[in-house]
């Protein structure tokens, strides 16, 4: 599979124009796609129930393939191929407003990819963007935050302080 072909609109902006880098990490859309991909699909399905019947057409039905994951040696050096990872992707277009959403997720869950694509398409649409942000994205951010804090607290409880004695002469 090629690298993500997601681009086009920043959420909330007008339908005109397109920015091929709009879905890269660090952008609003990119961060939200990452959040959706890392979320529990059951929770995501629950949160998206109000929009489950939104009329849509498939530009690409969910398909699973392999992506080559790359790293950089030493964190800053040249790229190398780390290995292949299963990923599932799909692309939908909402019939009413014409916005297009992509869903990319590691693993083989077509359902999870569909949910991400639906959320992404809704976030690209001015009509639904604000409501979906408040009712889907915000709760997911809180859940992730809570999980990170819980993991940090668990790790912190295992911290050991070392005190060294200075050697007298």
């Amino acid at each position: 599979m090629n690298l993500p072909d997601a681009c086009a609109h920043q959420s909330g902006s007008s339908q005109e124009g397109s920015n091929p880098k709009a879905a890269n990490p660090g952008t609003i859309r990119g961060d939200r796609l990452a959040l959706l991909a890392c979320s529990d699909p059951k929770i995501l399905a629950q949160l998206l129930i109000p929009w489950a019947e939104t009329e849509q057409t498939w530009l690409r039905r969910p398909e699973t393939g392999l992506v080559m994951v790359q790293g950089r040696t030493g964190g800053t050096g040249t790229r190398f191929n780390l290995g292949e990872m299963s990923a599932t992707r799909c692309t939908i277009r909402l019939t009413a407003c014409g916005s297009t959403g992509v869903g990319w997720v590691s693993g083989r869950s077509a359902k999870h990819a569909e949910l991400i694509a639906l959320a992404d398409a809704l976030l690209q649409s001015p009509a639904h963007c604000e409501e979906v942000r408040a009712k889907v994205i915000e709760p997911l951010i809180k859940i992730r935050q809570a999980a990170l804090e819980a993991a940090a607290a668990l790790a912190a409880s295992t911290r050991v302080e070392f005190f060294t004695m200075t050697r007298g002469e």
Partner: protein, 221 residues
């Protein structure tokens, strides 16, 4: 390199099923030159502008990341580029001489066939396939026995060769003053002379296809 998703149009509704049935139709058309195949997998109106449904079905079926494609000016729209990249990842070339598939939007945009890939003696299959959108073609039933076959008008072609038991007659629809049917016929005759090298031609209109592979002879009067 990103694709502007707002430009992408639909491909196949059910990729596996639709591509297999399309491939079968194309195979049958090439195996039985002069017959008309029905590529009904792209609903009418779902192809990019200026593309016939048949040409778009051919693109969705035959193109992938390794097939180099040349598009004639009327077909080389932003929607077509974005959609081809999205659905097929095919490399698009601006040099017809490098392409494996040549999509021609109308009869006035044809590149010179002598500049296309004709294959090599050891690899005749490394040649171009030309997909040409035409106004229309009808299959002509053999005329009554007492009518001489060579009284047919110039845009009716008698075909012979592999895949044709005796002959087949097709008639190209065109305006009375058009020269392109005769030019196309001459190009096909010159192409046939190079057999086993040469290009293969797929004529498309609406959601229909008629194939004239390089093995087919057009009998001249």
């Amino acid at each position: 390199m990103g694709v502007d998703l707002s430009l992408v149009c639909k491909g196949f509704d059910e990729p596996v099923k639709d591509s297999q049935s399309s491939f079968r139709t194309i195979l049958n058309a090439l195996s039985q030159p002069g017959t008309v195949g029905h590529l009904d997998v792209i609903p009418l109106g779902h192809a990019p502008e200026k593309w016939t449904e048949a040409a778009w079905a051919l693109a969705m079926t035959l193109l992938d990341g390794d097939t180099r494609v040349w598009l004639s000016p009327s077909l080389a729209t932003a929607v077509a580029h974005a959609s081809l990249q999205f659905h097929t990842s095919c490399p698009i070339t601006h040099d017809p001489g490098e392409a494996d598939f040549i999509f021609v939007g109308n009869v006035n945009e044809q590149p010179d066939w002598s500049s296309l890939r004709h294959g090599e003696a050891e690899f005749p299959d490394l040649s171009a396939t030309v997909i040409l959108q035409v106004p229309g073609i009808e299959v002509v039933e053999p005329s009554a026995p007492n009518v001489a076959p060579n009284v047919a008008p110039s845009s009716t072609w008698e075909l012979r060769g592999p895949g044709i038991e005796h002959t087949r007659l097709i008639r190209l629809q065109h305006e009375p003053e058009d020269h392109w049917p005769e030019q196309l016929r001459l190009a096909l005759v010159a192409n046939r002379a190079q057999f086993p090298l040469g290009v293969d031609l797929l004529l498309v209109w609406l959601d229909l296809v008629c194939a004239l592979p390089r093995s087919t002879r057009i009998v001249t009067n």
